[in-house]
Amino acid sequence: MSPPRTLFMLGKGGVGKTTCALALARALSSTARVTVVSLDPAHNLGDLAGVPLGRAPVTLMPGLEACEPDLEALSRERAEGAVDLIRAGYRHLDALSLGGLADLVQHAPGLEEQSALDALGAFVRDLPPEDVLVVDMPPTGLSVRMLALPALSLRWIECLAGLRRRIIERRASIAHVRGRQEQDRDHVMDRLGAERDGLALLCDLFENGAAHVLVVNPDPLSIAEAGRLREVLRRLGTDAARLVINRGSGTHEPAGGLADLPSTVLPDLGGSAREPGSLDKLGRLLAEELG
């Protein structure tokens, strides 16, 4: 099945990704079923929505669901799940020597990114194509690694699966010579296949399916970060769909490296930006072009 229509809100911390994600999601929910997911470890979608959010989607208003999975808890579960399987499956291993392994593995580079991908993948798989998925992305560094991980992992999986195939063949021929039977299911190969399917879905979404929205403020630092994100998107073979200049005056000069992107300027709403009326105003402006 095709994935839902997906929009990623990307940019430097504090530029207004969460605000734009919720504002856009609210606006789009008048015409479609919308899910807004925050993958930002800063957890402020729930604060902004005024509702405590977690892993399971919560209905914010008719047609709009929101969730904010805890990436640290997800990494922890992934690490513990693997260590439990090792404990159960490695017959000759001293169970005690595995104590503390989950702590180490949980913080291994890539785990947090993979947890964010897992959370995202569940929605991409389960939501119907007529639904809209708005993703409030983490700050630039984590976003970049998250966007790059599926393609990198896929290349590795291809390579490992190729080597694995040769190992399986060699084992089979040795077993044949000895007149024995090799077990016919190879769990490593099964796992590689399952990971490949999940990652291929996300790779395709990042590279072909989704709209990447770069959010900036009219300041050089946030614009530089958006430029960096655009570079990463291009290396993935795609590009940003739109530039949102949040808290812009409308008289700013075109941003370096981003000037050719279609842009939407959102006004600075001062201290009232978090109020529903303000979110609706920002949402209408965003939905005009992204609806």
């Binding site: 693997a82 000759h92 580079p109 785990l111 992992s153 490992l160 796992r191």
Partner: protein, 86 residues
């Protein structure tokens, strides 16, 4: 009586062979150590941790082979050192 110098030569040759084998193992370990330390810096590829974590639970056999190799390395060294001492 065996001439003193011949005995010395023989010991030197045996020592040389033993250290030759030792040096080979040492080089292997130094190589491995260097790969572990600088591999990722010079672009020696390692799969992303989540990929490894996903298949590791099903690699009891391969990890067994790896550990046996590591143990074997120690055994070879121990044997050689034992011979040299004797």
């Amino acid at each position: 009586m065996v001439p003193r110098s011949l005995l010395d030569d023989l010991v030197a040759i045996l020592r040389g062979e033993a250290t030759g084998a030792l040096e080979l193992e040492l080089a292997e370990m130094e190589n491995l150590f260097a790969i572990l330390v600088v591999g990722s810096l010079v672009g020696l590829p390692f799969p992303p941790a989540p990929v490894g974590l996903s298949i590791l639970p099903h690699m009891e056999r391969e990890v067994g082979v790896m550990l046996a190799r590591a143990d074997g390395l120690d055994d070879i060294l121990a044997t050689l050192i034992g011979r040299l001492k004797a």
